[in-house]
Symmetry: C2
Amino acid sequence: MAVPTLEEVARVAGVSRASASRVVNGSPSVGIQVRQSVERAIVELGYVPNRAARSLVTRRNDSVGVVIAEPTGRIFSDPFFVEVLRGISGGLAAREMQLVLVMSQSPEEERRAERYLTRGHVDGVILFSLHGDDPLPEHLHSQGIPVVVGGEPPRGARVSYVDNDNHGGAFAAVTHLIEQGRTRIATILGPQDMPAGVTRRRAYRDALRAAGLPLDESLEKGGEFTREGGQRAMDVLLQRHPDIDAVFAASDLMAAGALSSLHAAGRRVPEDVAIVGFDDSIIALSTQPSLSSVHQSMELMGRELANSLLQTIDARDRAVRRVVLETQLVVRESSGGPPTGQN
Amino acid sequence: MAVPTLEEVARVAGVSRASASRVVNGSPSVGIQVRQSVERAIVELGYVPNRAARSLVTRRNDSVGVVIAEPTGRIFSDPFFVEVLRGISGGLAAREMQLVLVMSQSPEEERRAERYLTRGHVDGVILFSLHGDDPLPEHLHSQGIPVVVGGEPPRGARVSYVDNDNHGGAFAAVTHLIEQGRTRIATILGPQDMPAGVTRRRAYRDALRAAGLPLDESLEKGGEFTREGGQRAMDVLLQRHPDIDAVFAASDLMAAGALSSLHAAGRRVPEDVAIVGFDDSIIALSTQPSLSSVHQSMELMGRELANSLLQTIDARDRAVRRVVLETQLVVRESSGGPPTGQN
DNA sequence: CCATGTTGAGAGAGCGCTCTCTTGACAGCG
DNA sequence: CGCTGTCAAGAGAGCGCTCTCTCAACATGG
């Protein structure tokens, strides 16, 4: 009943512990008959290597830390996390690496987490949901710990990251609206203290500029990444510019709120006002009319984060890897066709 | 620059490695001056115990596995997971235990996960999102691995679990509607292959029965845990029973869908039809009118899961622990006051 | 036929820690 | 004053594994 050790495997196979170890670790310099008899013994005994013992000598842990630092209930991003985690998990699974989740909810816990991460308990770290100028990534990096950041890293940090192509996606969304013949295009901005929010705004402007449309700051209205935020922003925009014929919202949730506002104001979507969201979340499919949106696969992001980190760990270099994931505009009912409104 | 070991701590403190170890582990039989000098040395060197070395001899890992088995994109529960994870993380942090996340997305990965969990890589396991008759909890339990299940465990499994008081919450919700003077109360059911869905339905019936109201199966309409599902169910219910004056929906998302349906049908909420949801998620606050709902703290659930598991690990017993967490009805606009409709 | 690789396999040290066993010091008691 | 009991502290084994070093066996070339 006792858990079998390498020693026993070696004994059963009639070889030395060293040879058994070589087989387990896939060393090339092992004769065919030794390999086979060890493999048979492994199956027979149901042997599984003891991670602790292995770590002790290799100084590796076969585990990566995933840090979700939450300043104070930044609820917005929650639904994404699970998807990203799933992606990371998938990317790690192939290598039998384990995912150690670290969620720090207080400064005290954050310090504990940092201590934990810097003391060699993990082979690398994936960071998430950074508040603007978090020093953690740079900190870990400077201690020689492989780090990859999900989303844009705090500015100034020379750190690897994987990000969605926010600019490309938003640019495509606005350009799409323009191509539909819309000319009075407003935008509902995301929080401007988040890189994604800033970038999407910039892309909105760039797209207008590229099409030769005039920029008008009063067509931009910000808010939180919530349904209510979107609704209120839309109310304001309609008041300012009753002749708006399109809206680019920085998130689906905001777009859904805007939809309610437009409804209440008697605007038809997409006939009077076309609207495009961002994220392509479940929400986009459940609104009435269904929402055009910019698709980004958070699961893919997770997978890329895992890959990127594993590469860094393997290479033992300190190269900065940047990966930008394509986003894709998904056109649904809310932005179909040219304006037909008459108000 | 090298990481300090216990050996060095002992040398600096001028004591034996054994004594240093005793101090680190808080053994009571250590003299005051020895303790102090060791503590000083620890601070001075920035010593942190090597987990691998410790595990090797103690045969403990100071880590628990959290398993999220996802049959096939059961998206419904996603938003909860992060909250539960946060709770677990918080509950574990105090004990310096680490959270190893295991997400199995394919049968192949599931087998890998099980192998991992049964090979003594974790001190205990928290299981989640079980599909009806998952054998995993019973399996782990029979291998002597401490297990706690979040939500109702598969029937028949003699396993510890932490669950929300679905019955109590749903009962309170329906009773509340009755107390408001509603008499034609419909319900939108959750999936009947999930324990929570079944229990909420039972509570709905129990509440009607307790109030002496007649049961009518045609007032029950099921669907998926989605907005659309709720909307379609409500459509059907209105068709069957135009005189419905209240609805208990098994989730906020479904309630939101029902709201759209009621809106489209020209029913006023709450004047004509009162409605109560379940989960008290963000959605409840962003609907128009705001949604009465049954509150359940998923974070608390996570914390209780962690506590329960830690207890089992410490006690080394195989006792089955059951914890039922109180749910609480939160009354908002959607169910305020008696019916005033005249249709 | 001997020097020289080349390749497969074993011996053994040691990773950092815990824990049992043993020892030493000292108090209490007859 | 010697004996026993108690408590603090040290010595040392050993957890399961990897990895370097060494060695044996055999092939190759001069």
